[in-house]
């Protein structure tokens, strides 16, 4: 608009208070101040809007844990770690226990083996009485090995035949006479080791030994132990059985021969003189 309704120049017209020039300027200044104030308010409102928006944004984020919750979280994490550690240790202990169990079983087996061998050896050398010595061999075969039918054969050197000295589970008179030149006697005499049939063929002759143990006297062969069958509960031969066979072969002959010689000597009175005499004759000691 170029002028107001009064038709006067607003720049030079009367001021509202009646002073035409000054009044307009005052009016304009007041308008200017009013606009500044509005702008300032506007600015303040904008700032406030920003603050509120910011507050709204903050309200949507997770609430930071209070101090107690934070502590609980720390404790929980620590417990979780300890739990994992305990589980790991438990696994370790379980493995160790398993290893100890295995070792314990091995030691038990070894103890069992040693006890069997010790008792058998100890008993074999506990007597010079022939019937007693024979009985001990029978007991070892029956109780320790679980043999059901067996015989102790002695070699008759002039004929080369082996005849039963004692038997168990079969009448002595029915034990087959064996030749030293025929297997299994020939084989075990040649090797000096027990001949053992682990798996018995179905068509096996019951009079054929399953085991033939040479009874040794140093390098000489005195006879053999033959086993024809086992007790019904005996399922299989074990390593202990094989060691007992070797023990019987290595010591049994000497025990039987010692007992025979002792019996034939009459077992006269013992004196240090008799021992010395034997030492001089046999060993050449002065």
């Amino acid at each position: 608009m170029d002028g107001d309704e009064t038709g006067t120049n607003p720049a030079e017209g009367p001021a509202p208070n009646g002073a035409p020039g000054g009044t307009l300027r005052n009016y304009l200044k007041r308008g200017e101040a009013f606009i500044d104030e509005i702008l300032r308010h506007n600015e303040l409102l904008r700032l406030r809007v920003v603050q509120l928006e910011s507050q709204l944004f903050m309200d949507n984020t997770p609430v930071p844990p209070p101090a107690a919750a934070h502590e609980l979280r720390v404790v929980f994490e620590q417990l979780h770690k300890e739990h994992d550690e305990i589980e790991r240790r438990l696994d370790e202990v379980a493995h160790e226990t398993e290893a100890y169990k295995e070792r314990y079983a091995q030691i038990e087996e070894e103890n069992d083996r040693l006890v069997n061998l010790f008792v058998a050896g100890h008993q074999l050398y506990s007597t010079l009485d022939l019937p007693n010595a024979v009985q001990i061999i029978v007991e070892i075969l029956l109780n320790f090995v679980g043999a059901g039918r067996f015989a102790i054969l002695i070699l008759d050197e002039p004929t080369g035949e082996l005849h039963a000295l004692e038997s168990y589970g079969v009448d002595r008179g029915l034990v087959p006479v064996m030749s030293r030149d025929m297997d299994p006697v020939a084989a075990c005499f040649a090797s000096g080791k027990p001949e053992v049939i682990q798996e018995v063929p179905e068509s096996w002759d019951v009079n054929q030994p399953l085991v033939c143990i040479p009874l040794k006297l140093g390098q000489e062969l005195l006879g053999a132990v033959t086993i024809y069958s086992y007790l019904e509960q005996k399922r299989e031969l074990t390593p202990i059985d094989l060691e007992l066979f070797s023990l019987l072969g290595d010591r049994g002959g000497a025990v039987l021969e010692s007992a025979r010689l002792f019996a034939s000597s009459g077992g006269g009175p013992r004196s240090v003189g008799a021992y010395r005499e034997l030492l001089m004759n046999e060993g050449g000691h002065g």
Partner: protein, 124 residues
Amino acid sequence: MDELSALIVEDSPTMRQLLVFALSRVRGLSVAEADDGLDALKKLASMDFDIIITDINMPIMDGLKLVKRVRSDDRYANIPIVIITTEGGAEDRKRALALGANAYITKPIRAPQVIKTVKELLKI
């Protein structure tokens, strides 16, 4: 643990020695020996035993007669009895257990088996 005692009844010195060796490994268990059933009854009368381990085939008084005598005597009625024998038949086992034996082990024996049985019966 209080000392427990076992009575081994066996006519074979070889078997007796094997059993003594085996049972001497059970901590807290002392072992006494008898040659046959009659000898065992004499020892039972003079000493307290917590378990009896007996063979069947023995001279003078066999193991089954011993079991019968022990079970018929109130003083020994609760003593566990283990039979150790070469007789592996089911009927033999049945008969021994029916007479009052608590366990039945067949020869050839293995020490761990005897130890396990004795420990179970003594609850140790």
